[in-house]
Structures are given as structure tokens and as C-alpha cells.
């Protein structure tokens, strides 16, 4: 119950922020970027599985947001509107990298040698380090599986599963009907299931980790 009211407060606060940003308040626009950056970045990261591309796409999305926010009609639709911008930004970046045969720097430099391994990162003290490491490994694996989905399915799955958008909001962001979203979701999950099975991630193999 308490969390509910906090969530409401946060939403109300964000509504006033959006309203102010819409009237051209640069300060409010900056605040909005701060508030939403983590979400949009995470969306882009899961889409590309690449930090640099995700940074590029999310920054472009926010620049576009600030330029066009004055034209936003309905404050209540801000979330789906913002995700629509993010989706377009990601698609544009994806189109770009499809043309250019650039190799990400991360692919050249040995990332694992520079980043601390998963078990070195600080977690709660009573966490089991081995479990923590396995979880990290599983997360990486899952993200790679996600990358194997088609672009359309990936968008829907990320928005639903990780960004917590409603089907209606996803439909608005992608400019498609709610039923199309649901069917893409179904086939996306189905495809993921097969990919997971191919990598031998089944109920039996991971159940001890969950």
C-alpha cells in the first residue's frame, strides 16, 4: 500500500516535470533526461547488447525528445511517446551499423581482462559468490539469446519484460494494434524458448539457480 502511494507521487511529480518541460523549461528537460536515462539506456542496451551503441542511441533519443517535447499533446502518453522515440533511434542506429562494417572496440580489446569478473563486484555480504557469478553468467547468456530474436520481437519482449510497459503502451510506441503486440510477444517468447533449449537452458538445468 505504501509503495503504491509512493509510485503515485513519483508519477505525479513526473507529470509536472513533463508539463514544465513542454513549456520549454530547459531545467525540467534536463531533469527528465536524468529521470528516464537509465530506462532508455537499458532498453537500448538490451536491443544492441553493446554499451557504445546504446549510449549513442539513447543520447540521440533524448536530444530528439527535448526538441520535440513541445509538440507532445497528451502528458499521459509521455512514456509510450518516449519509447517510440527510443525505438526509432535504435532502428536508425541498427540500420547504420548494418551498412558500415565497423568492429566495436569492445570486440577488439579483451573486455574480460579489464572489467572485474562478476564475483569481484560488490554484492551483499551474505551473498553466495558462486551463485552470484552463475547469475551473472546466466544474465549474459540470456541477453545473447535475446539478441538472436528478430528486431520486431526483440522490441516487444524488452518493452514488456524489462521496461514494464503495458500492451497498450507498447502498441502506441510501435504504432501497431494491441493484438499485433500480443502475437509478436507470443512468437517472441516461443522463439526464445527454442533458443534457450538450444543452449540447454531448461527448467531442469537452471531451476537450482532461480
Amino acid at each position: 500500500m505504501h509503495a503504491e502511494t509512493l509510485q503515485d507521487m513519483a508519477l505525479m511529480h513526473s507529470d509536472t516535470l513533463i508539463e514544465r518541460a513542454r513549456q520549454g523549461d530547459k531545467n525540467a528537460q534536463g531533469r527528465l533526461v536524468q529521470v528516464w536515462y537509465k530506462r532508455i539506456y537499458n532498453y537500448c542496451f538490451k536491443f544492441f547488447l553493446d554499451h557504445d551503441l546504446a549510449m549513442e542511441a539513447s543520447q540521440k533519443a533524448f536530444i530528439s525528445m527535448c526538441r520535440n517535447i513541445e509538440a507532445l499533446q497528451d502528458v499521459g502518453r509521455f512514456k509510450s511517446w518516449l519509447y517510440k522515440i527510443a525505438v526509432n533511434s535504435c532502428r536508425e542506429e541498427a540500420r547504420k551499423i548494418k551498412g558500415a562494417k565497423a568492429v566495436s572496440f569492445d570486440a577488439v580489446v579483451n573486455v574480460e581482462a579489464e572489467d572485474s569478473p562478476g564475483w569481484e563486484k560488490t554484492g551483499r555480504r551474505n551473498d553466495n559468490p558462486e551463485k552470484h557469478y552463475q547469475q551473472q553468467e546466466l544474465a549474459d547468456l540470456l541477453q545473447q539469446c535475446l539478441k538472436e530474436l528478430s528486431e520486431e520481437q526483440r522490441e516487444v519482449v524488452i518493452m514488456k519484460e524489462y521496461e514494464g510497459l503495458k500492451f497498450r503502451e507498447i502498441a502506441e510506441a510501435l504504432n501497431i494494434s494491441e493484438n499485433t503486440v500480443k502475437s509478436r510477444m507470443y512468437y517472441g517468447l516461443d522463439a526464445l524458448k527454442r533458443i534457450l533449449e538450444k543452449r540447454n537452458i531448461t527448467k531442469e538445468t537452471v531451476s537450482y539457480e532461480l
Binding site: 509510485q7 537509465k38 539506456y41 538490451k46 519484460e161
Partner: protein
């Protein structure tokens, strides 16, 4: 029974969006068809697995906006210099035209001139001269004439002066003198009376001035006293206000801090996704 839920219904069921009859219908169907149930359960497992990917922490980079002013051609550096050159050329041409500048090079002579060519007037080098003697003679003659004229004027003035003195002396008599003396004495009596009068008036005005001065001094003093008192009151008032202002500022700062903290908390709430939407588990 021909009922078979399509993938849209199944997804709605999986995400707990179905209610009432629809939900019961799907549940009944799943109970009757184990393979369909298995399918739904495996999808639920995929969802559960997906939940294992945590959010990446990231710090929003500052995004700086430039004012999107459209740059016209003449506002670019290249355009500007081009326009500058064109303008100076036009200016030079205009000035040349207005001043009628004409530059020509003919037969080894460079000519720069303004306006139409003009024939210079030829000055005669030779002039008829006068001899030194003739000049001397002319000077002597004019001097002599001058002297003569001055002599004549001088004698004329002398005669006029003599005549006027003589006529003046002849016109005076004793009676005139008597009248003059009388007039003088009357005048002195008038003067004395006048002097006494002015003395009196001066005295009166002096006393009056003194009195008024005195009273104005007193008034001024009173006024100053009042003004000082008012100033003192005002100062006191201002001090009070400053104390109040300081207190208010403190309160404002506290509120700002509080607001900031609240905002941060709210921000963190917004950016963490509520992922507790109902997962269908097998019952």
C-alpha cells in the same frame, strides 16, 4: 468442444489480463489439453528466466543543446568574406565614378586625373617693367599730396574749437549760479531724511530677521529630532526584517534540500520498473 484460444488470448492469460468468463474458459481448456498447458508453462518459464537480467546502472551524460538557428549563405564565414569583397569593389567603383577618376597611359606618361582634362592657362613670362626712378617719383608725389591735405584739416579744426569756447562763455549769468546753489542745499536735506528713514527700516527688518531666524532654527531642530527618531525606528525595523529574512532563507534552504532529496527518491522510484506483474504459475 471446438474452443481453442489463440495466441493473443494465451498471452493475455499469461500476463494475467483475463478476467471472469474468459479466464475460466482458458483455464478449462488448458486443463483439458495437457500439451497446451505445457506450452503455456514453458512460456512462463521463459519469462521467469528473462527476469534474471538485471538493469545496468548508468549515469546520464549531460546533454547540451545548441540553438537551432538556420544559417543562411551570407552568414557563413566564406559568404561573409565574399560579400565583403563585393561591397568594397562596389564602393571603389562608385567613388571612381563620382570623382571622375581617369587613369591613362599614353606615350610613356601615366596620367591620373579627376574629371575632364583641363588646358592650363599659359602665363606670360614677360611683363613691361617700371624703372626705379619712375617709382620713386610716384611715391614722392603721393606723400606730398597727403601732407597738404592734413595741413588744411588741422587749421579748420582749430578755428571751430575757438569759436565754440567763445560762445559758451558769453551765455552764463549770476542768477543761474544762485539757482544752482539752492538746488544743491535742498538735495542734501532730502538725503539726510532719506538716510534716517532707511536706518529705521533696516533696524526693523533686522529684528524681524532675527525673530524669524530664531523660529526657523527651532523648527529645524525639532525637525531634525523627528527625522533622527524616524531613522532610528527605520533602522530597528530593518534589523528585524533582516533577522526574519535570514530565518526565512534558512527555511527555504532546508526546504530546497528536502525537495531535492524527495526528487531523488522519486526519480529512483520511476527508474526502477515494477516487475511484479502477475506471473501465471501452474496451480
Amino acid at each position: 468442444m471446438n474452443y481453442k484460444p489463440d495466441e493473443i488470448l494465451l498471452i493475455s492469460y499469461l500476463y494475467g489480463e483475463l478476467q471472469g468468463d474468459e479466464k475460466r474458459q482458458v483455464e478449462r481448456y488448458l486443463a483439458e489439453h495437457p500439451d497446451a498447458l505445457k506450452e503455456v508453462e514453458s512460456l512462463a518459464f521463459v519469462r521467469k528466466s528473462l527476469a534474471n537480467v538485471p538493469d545496468k546502472e548508468v549515469i546520464a551524460p549531460p546533454i547540451v543543446f545548441d540553438d537551432r538557428k538556420t544559417r543562411y549563405f551570407w552568414n557563413t564565414p566564406f559568404g561573409r568574406s565574399l560579400m565583403g569583397i563585393a561591397a568594397s569593389l562596389t564602393l571603389i567603383l562608385l567613388v571612381g565614378k563620382l570623382t571622375g577618376l581617369n587613369v591613362s597611359y599614353t606615350s610613356n606618361t601615366l596620367t591620373v586625373r579627376f574629371g575632364d582634362p583641363k588646358e592650363l592657362p599659359v602665363v606670360d613670362a614677360v611683363q613691361p617693367g617700371l624703372s626705379a626712378y619712375a617709382v620713386q617719383e610716384m611715391i614722392d608725389q603721393s606723400l606730398k599730396q597727403n601732407n597738404d591735405q592734413l595741413q588744411v584739416q588741422w587749421t579748420e579744426t582749430q578755428q571751430k574749437l575757438d569759436q565754440s569756447i567763445r560762445t559758451n562763455l558769453a551765455g552764463r549769468s549770476d542768477a543761474d549760479f544762485n539757482k544752482l546753489v539752492q538746488r544743491v542745499s535742498v538735495a542734501s536735506e532730502d538725503q539726510i531724511r532719506q538716510f534716517a528713514l532707511t536706518l529705521q527700516a533696516e533696524n526693523a527688518s533686522m529684528i524681524k530677521d532675527y525673530m524669524t531666524l530664531n523660529s526657523t532654527d527651532q523648527r529645524k531642530y525639532m525637525q531634525e529630532l523627528l527625522v533622527d527618531f524616524a531613522k532610528y525606528l527605520e533602522q530597528q525595523h530593518r534589523n528585524d526584517l533582516q533577522v526574519l529574512q535570514a530565518r526565512l532563507n534558512n527555511i527555504e534552504q532546508d526546504t530546497d534540500l528536502f525537495k531535492h532529496e524527495t526528487e531523488q527518491i522519486l526519480t529512483s522510484i520511476i527508474s526502477s520498473v515494477d516487475n511484479t506483474n502477475s506471473l501465471v504459475t501452474k496451480n
